[in-house]
């Protein structure tokens, strides 16, 4: 399978000198097309930092991150919709930023919302929908962009179990439909169990991998 992103002795340290905090160090890993990976570990173990490095939102302070030029879709921990834009505008935003035509972006966004069953809430503001609906909208935003790599950081952290299951179903379906790699950071074992691989983070290092 084609590698989408990979880390080579990658590390990330915040601050300097005595105040330096090592969030991630010496991580070697790779994500290929079709991967379904759950990154688990306790709070502060470096899951989010690793996700940011994989998504390209952050740069390693040591080591190296290999990356193919593919579209990356990101689902964040907590609310990640822009408050002044309604749901459909939020979903269309990455497309418009990428230079897509406004009409086409709107259509693709609406289709993505239909897929996650949110078309009837398209005109609502993020603050007018529930947490689960907002997270589904975030998934629709990823779907609309048709990425090859999906990075989801605690996508179900603020949802109840039913909503969490729904969102995870959507993510997996989405990744399957797009033949994309999927990496989900979670401390919820029920979420992790739904994915095929598991990476265990401890004190900033990748301790174990299991399939």
């Amino acid at each position: 399978m084609n590698e989408l992103v990979g880390c080579e002795r990658a590390g990330r340290t915040y601050g300097r000198g005595r105040n330096a905090v090592v969030a991630v160090h010496g991580v070697d890993c790779a994500v290929t097309e079709g991967d379904r990976i759950a990154v688990t570990g306790p709070s502060g173990s470096g899951k989010t930092t690793l996700m940011h490095l994989l998504a390209g939102l952050d740069q390693p302070t040591s080591g190296h991150v290999r990356r193919r030029a593919v579209t990356v879709g990101i689902v964040f921990q907590g609310l990640s919709l822009l408050p002044p834009l309604n749901i459909v505008e939020n979903v269309a935003l990455p497309l418009l930023i990428a230079g897509c035509d406004e009409k086409e972006a709107g259509e693709r966004a609406l289709n993505a919302l239909k897929t996650v069953d949110l078309a009837d809430l398209a005109e609502r503001l993020p603050e007018e929908v529930s947490g689960g609906q907002a997270q589904r909208a975030a998934v629709a935003r990823v779907l609309a962009a048709a990425p090859r790599l999906i990075i989801a950081d605690e996508p179900t952290g603020q949802l109840d179990s039913a909503q969490a299951a729904h969102v995870m179903d959507l993510l997996v379906e989405l990744a399957t439909g797009l033949r994309a790699g999927l990496v989900v950071a979670t401390h919820d074992t029920s979420v992790a169990d739904r994915l095929t691989s598991r990476w265990e983070m401890r004190d900033g290092t990748l301790r174990s991998r299991s399939c």
Binding site: L82, P83, P84, L93, I97, A98, E102, L125, E127
Partner: protein
């Protein structure tokens, strides 16, 4: 509580500083204006005292015992000096000069104690010779061609002639008040001083006259007066009435000081009115700005409140935290404002001119600080209390919310306020309206406070209307906003427009406050410029020209004097102006003889000075008909004149000195004329007047400078023409004619106003935008995470700034224009003469606009720069 405050200080430093700055501006403006107002009123009282050479002239009534009156006065605790002055009559003076015997008409011989000039220094001005003994008034000396050492014969009324030897020549600058008719009924015509006066020492006078025609006691008061001219007036006039009661008819008080204070109290009232009209809106705007600054963090505060409530905090706890924040802002902003006021005061007025007394300074400072604390409470505490009581946790988490028109907008409150303002404006701008009513000689003074409703309603209505218009532009007008954003945002234009549209409440508030701040600057500056323009016009009218040369009344100044004046370096043009007196019926009026061909070229006659045509058209009527005459509107009304009517006047013949009737034809109405009095006067052809009276004597020469400072040119003319000519210049006149209001208040008041208006305009445009963008850091960071480049984020920022800038400029300028017109119309009593149009201070407004644009650019640049920060860092901080 302490943890919360520490968190505010470390994490919300910018917002706290901005809120405290808003409070500081409101406090500083009020304190600076208030302290200066108190100081100016005190100065007005002091100047009134200085202007009056003799505070009281107590005239002994016929048959009364003068000694008793003097005794009563000397025992009066309010009097610090009392001197007896006796008046004797002559049927004429006579002198022999160069083989000719010169005689004058009736006059008066005044007996003065030896130290009179020292006790009342403003009453006499020694010109030449000795300052003691026999002093001849300047005009009498000119009439008699007498000099120190010459002998003058006094034709005493009812007594044999007496001869005295002149020791010196003196001027009587306050002759009007010295020879006033004490006890004249209110509204009586002022009595002209005698043409001929001789001053004698008391001993010599007593040797020449056994009994005075009348005897006065001149009194200098102790001047322990309140700083407020109105209170001082009441005290002085009350003391005068008390004295008259104690004298039981033996003496009447000519209350010169009371009269001066009577005039000053009107100025003081106008100063207070100006403070209310010009100062309060500025302070209210500063409070609104503080509210906007505090309000821009309201969503964040609501969110924090929701978190605290979700963790078990009661509404009471939330109110306490808000109270702590309000107190923090208030107790830092108020002292900062007082410090700022002190600094502004020092810069504008210097250490001596700011703050009349310690108590008034402390009182105004305390009042302003109290307003600052109230502002902090109203803008931070009240919204927090309301949110804590009414807003649920879920509602509190809402940052944007669905737009709904508030109740005031649904009921059209803005339209009602503006309509009310127009009604008040119509009522107050009618003819006969007086904002300040100070009946002469009556203690009660009044201000038509109803007039304040006009600008107040206009301010409020305009602010609400601007908010409504901005919301309409961003709501139904969103397609237009999208088109405006297209050049900046291209494919993101719709998204940018949607973002701004959903923030329309906040953007509307920003535009409303910025536009009102601009309107404040425009209206204040326009009012000030118009006032200065009219002050210059007033000075030009009073002085007549850059420099005015008046020959003494008895001297003959032939037209050839014009050539002597023209030859002086710095003179651009000279216009001779005949000054005579003429009887219209029984009414004695000033008559000015002009040269119609040149008068418009060398004087600054405005169209507003004439009615029934332009200045050129009306003056041309004089040119076309030699016996044409221009009269005042009052004369037209009183004598039922129609254009072309013959008007027969009685003028003094230059040869026989007798009055003779001269026929003129009424050709137009003149309302103002250089050097002319404010009431009735006449303007005619100089050549016709000279021909009819047999004298071409010119009383006044109006001199236009070629760029030389008027006071410099005046000095040169004095050196050329000698002491016989009275020379006044525009520079000096502007300082002298200005009432205490002109000279003191408005200069300082407007300097403070204009400085604060500039600061407000900049702060109102930049601060709310910067803070609003700061609240949207998360939005920008999320957009960055989704792939937005800094240029694309810039499109969001610059589109909003463009919108705010354009709306502020258009709506603010319109509001400023309307407010300027209303202020000038309502405060028309301040202007003398009333302005025919507004003076627009383009330089100041340009600087104001440039600073506001700079503020917008800085706000945009700061936001775009901040948006370049790595988004993960921003999200982590939030």
């Amino acid at each position: 509580m302490l943890i919360w405050l520490r968190g505010l200080l470390t994490r919300r430093t910018g917002r706290l500083v901005a809120s405290a700055s808003g409070v500081a501006v409101a406090v500083a403006l009020l304190a600076a204006l208030g302290v200066f107002l108190a100081s100016a009123m005190s100065t007005m009282t002091a100047r009134s005292i200085q202007r009056v050479p003799v505070d009281w002239q107590v005239e002994v009534q016929p048959g009364a015992d003068g000694a008793q009156v003097g005794q009563a006065l000397r025992h009066d605790h309010g009097a610090s000096a009392v001197r007896e002055v006796d008046f004797g009559a002559v049927t004429g003076f006579e002198s022999a000069s160069g083989g000719q015997v010169l005689t004058t008409g009736p006059g008066q011989v005044v007996g003065l104690p030896p130290d009179y000039a020292a006790v009342f220094p403003g009453e006499l001005r020694f010109l030449t010779g000795s300052s003691q003994g026999v002093l001849l008034a300047q005009q009498t000396a000119a009439n008699l061609h007498a000099a120190p050492g010459d002998t003058v014969v006094l034709h005493r009324a009812g007594l044999p002639d007496a001869t005295v030897r002149v020791d010196g020549i003196a001027d009587l600058p306050q002759a009007d008040s010295l020879f006033q008719r004490v006890g004249a009924p209110p509204g009586a015509q002022p009595q002209a001083p005698p043409d001929n006066v001789l001053l004698l020492g008391a001993d010599q006078w007593n040797r020449l006259y056994r009994e005075p025609v009348h005897r006065q006691f001149h009194v200098r008061l102790a001047h322990r007066l309140p700083a407020d001219p109105a209170a001082a007036y009441e005290q002085v006039t009350g003391s005068a009435r008390n004295l008259e009661a104690r004298l039981a008819g033996a003496g009447l008080v000519g209350d010169n000081l009371g009269s001066a204070l009577d005039a000053a109290r009107e100025d003081a009232l106008y100063a207070q009115v100006l403070f209310l009209f010009l100062g309060l809106p500025g302070a209210a705007l500063a409070a609104c700005l503080t509210a906007a600054i505090a309000g821009s963090g309201r969503a964040r505060r609501r969110g924090e409140q929701a978190l605290l409530r979700a963790r078990g905090a009661a509404a009471r706890d939330l109110v306490r935290l808000a109270l702590a924040e309000a107190l923090l802002v208030g107790v830092t902003g108020a002292p900062a404002g007082l410090g700022l006021a002190a600094i502004v005061g020092r810069i504008v007025f210097g250490p001596a001119g700011f703050g009349a007394t310690l108590p008034t300074t402390v009182a105004w400072g305390a009042m302003a600080a109290g307003v600052g604390l109230l502002t902090a409470g109203a803008t931070i505490l009240l919204p927090a209390v309301r949110d804590a009581r009414r807003v649920s946790v879920m509602e509190a988490r809402r940052a944007v919310g669905t737009f709904r028109w508030p109740a005031w907008a649904r009921y059209g409150l803005d339209a009602w306020l503006l309509a009310g303002s127009l009604v008040v404006f119509w009522a107050t701008s009618r003819e006969g309206y007086q904002l300040v009513l100070v009946p002469e000689g009556i203690p009660q003074i009044s201000v038509n406070y109803w007039a304040f409703a006009g600008p107040a309603l206009l301010w409020a209505g305009t602010g609400l209307l601007i908010w409504r218009l901005t919301c309409l532009l961003l709501g139904p007008g969103r397609p237009a906003v999208e088109r405006l954003a297209r050049p900046l945002a291209s494919g993101l234009a719709g998204t940018v427009a949607a973002t701004v549209a959903r923030q329309r409440r906040t953007v509307g508030r920003t535009v409303a406050i910025a536009a009102l701040a601009l309107a404040f600057a425009v209206s204040t500056a326009t009012f000030t410029a118009t006032y200065r323009q009219q002050a210059l016009v007033d000075a030009q009218l009073t002085n007549g020209a850059d420099v005015t040369v008046s020959e003494s009344p008895g001297a003959y100044a032939p037209p050839a004097t014009e050539h002597r004046i023209s030859a002086v370096p710095g003179v651009a043009a000279v216009e001779p102006l005949q000054h005579r007196f003429a009887y219209v019926g029984s009414d004695l009026q000033d008559l000015y003889g002009v040269r119609p061909g040149t008068v418009l070229n060398t004087t600054r006659l405005q169209d507003a000075y004439f009615s029934g045509g332009t200045a050129r058209q009306v003056v041309d009527r004089l040119a076309h008909r030699p016996d044409a005459i221009l009269v005042s509107q009052e004369t037209v009304r009183d004598f039922q004149l129609h254009l072309g009517d013959t008007l027969r006047l009685r003028l003094q013949d230059g040869r026989t000195k007798r009055y003779r009737t001269v026929a003129f034809h009424y050709a137009g109405v003149v309302t103002e004329f250089p050097t002319a009095p404010r009431d009735s006067f006449l303007v005619a052809n100089a050549s016709y007047v000279a021909a009819q009276t047999g004298s071409d004597s010119v009383g006044t020469f109006l001199v236009t400078a070629d760029g030389v400072a008027p006071h410099t040119l005046a000095d040169r003319l004095r050196a050329t023409l000698g002491p016989q000519a009275r020379i006044t210049d525009l520079d000096t006149t502007r300082g002298v004619i200005g009432s205490s209001l002109t000279a003191v208040d408005l200069g300082g008041l407007t300097t403070i106003e204009l400085a604060f208006a500039l600061a407000l305009a900049v702060a109102a445009t930049a601060l709310p935008l910067i803070l609003g963008f700061t609240e949207r850091r998360r939005t920008f960071a999320l957009a960055r995470v989704l792939g937005a480049r800094p240029r694309q984020l810039g499109a969001f920022v610059w589109t909003e700034i463009l919108l705010v800038g354009l709306a502020t400029a258009v709506l603010g300028a319109l509001a400023g224009w309307g407010l300027s017109h209303m202020l000038v119309a309502i405060l028309t009593g301040v202007f003398d003469p009333p302005p025919s149009g507004l003076a627009v201070p383009w330089g100041y407004l340009g600087a104001d606009g440039a600073l506001a644009v700079t503020g917008l650019l800085v706000a945009g640049a700061v936001t775009v720069w901040a948006a370049r920060r790595p988004p993960l860092n921003v999200l982590r901080d939030l």
